[in-house]
Amino acid sequence: MLYLPDISNRMEVQSTPVNYLPIIFQILVALGFAVGTMVVTHMIGPKRRTAEKLTPFESGIEVIGNARQPFSIKYFLVAILFVLFDVEVIFMYPWAVNFRELGLDGMIQMFIFMGTLLLGFIYIIKKKALDWE
């Protein structure tokens, strides 16, 4: 517990683009495994193509209709509201890192920001936008 600030300081100094190299390796390994398995199974597996086998697998139930149908706008509303609150949370991150230095002023500034968005949230609730009719 005593040397915790020391660690955070060291990490800050070391934070350079080179530190992202392990992440790139991890992405390469993950993508390489996924793509590699798919390619290899396609290459070494036997191919017996019948009309039955090429239909999409629907847990044994016959396929009905077309998948490319327009769907309800309610999904979009939920998705876009999620993105807006996602952006709000991202703005909280630089504030949380500097929480001590910014002190009470930073807290008031952030609460004004959050209060405006809370108004939006109350509006959404009052409009019953998230209710699934």
Binding site: R68, I80, L84, P94, N98, Q109, I112, T116
Partner: protein, 165 residues
């Protein structure tokens, strides 16, 4: 430096693929790869917070919304909307506006001095937060109003008004 040129080449290549892909879904998928190359650019510039935000919000959320929007359109008869004369004329006008803007900006083109960052850690979250809550406080607070208006607009557009008696 050579890494920058490689990633820049990839960005331009995938950006061109966005335009040239026939299928709109493929076009959005290429756009996702383009944004991923932008994330690499941000990391190379040591703007780490921007890189992570670009990765999560743009690649993760906003482009999924783009795909979402595509699904509201009718994907079965592709390209039928593009044939109307109005679309062609408006496309021509928009393209010409872009051309004029590009030519105009090319005329004022000059080689500037390379930017030397005083502080290499400028893009880290801590420094970004300090700047955001002092110098750019007003734009930050105004952005909350922007988000609020986006919320209200989305609800107004997507929500069916209950029939009043």
């Amino acid at each position: 430096m050579s890494l920058f040129y490689f990633v820049a080449l990839l960005s331009i290549f995938f950006a061109l693929m966005v335009i040239f892909a026939k299928n709109p879904v493929h076009s959005v998928l290429y756009l996702i790869i383009t944004f991923f190359t932008f994330t690499i650019h941000y990391i190379l510039l040591n703007a780490q917070f921007l890189a992570v935000v670009n990765f999560i919000v743009y690649m993760g959320a906003i482009l999924v919304l783009f795909l979402h929007v595509l699904m509201y359109m009718n994907l079965n008869n592709e390209g039928s909307e593009m044939k109307s004369m109005l679309m062609k004329v408006s496309g021509l006008i928009a393209g010409m506006c872009l051309l004029v803007t590009l030519v105009g900006s090319m005329k004022t083109l000059a080689v500037s001095d390379p930017v030397n960052l005083q502080d290499a850690d400028l893009g880290l979250v801590k420094n970004l937060g300090k700047v955001l809550f002092s110098e750019f406080l007003l734009p930050f607070e105004v952005s909350s109003i922007l988000l609020l208006s986006a919320m209200v607009g989305a609800v107004l557009l997507a929500k069916k008004e209950p029939k009043s008696i």
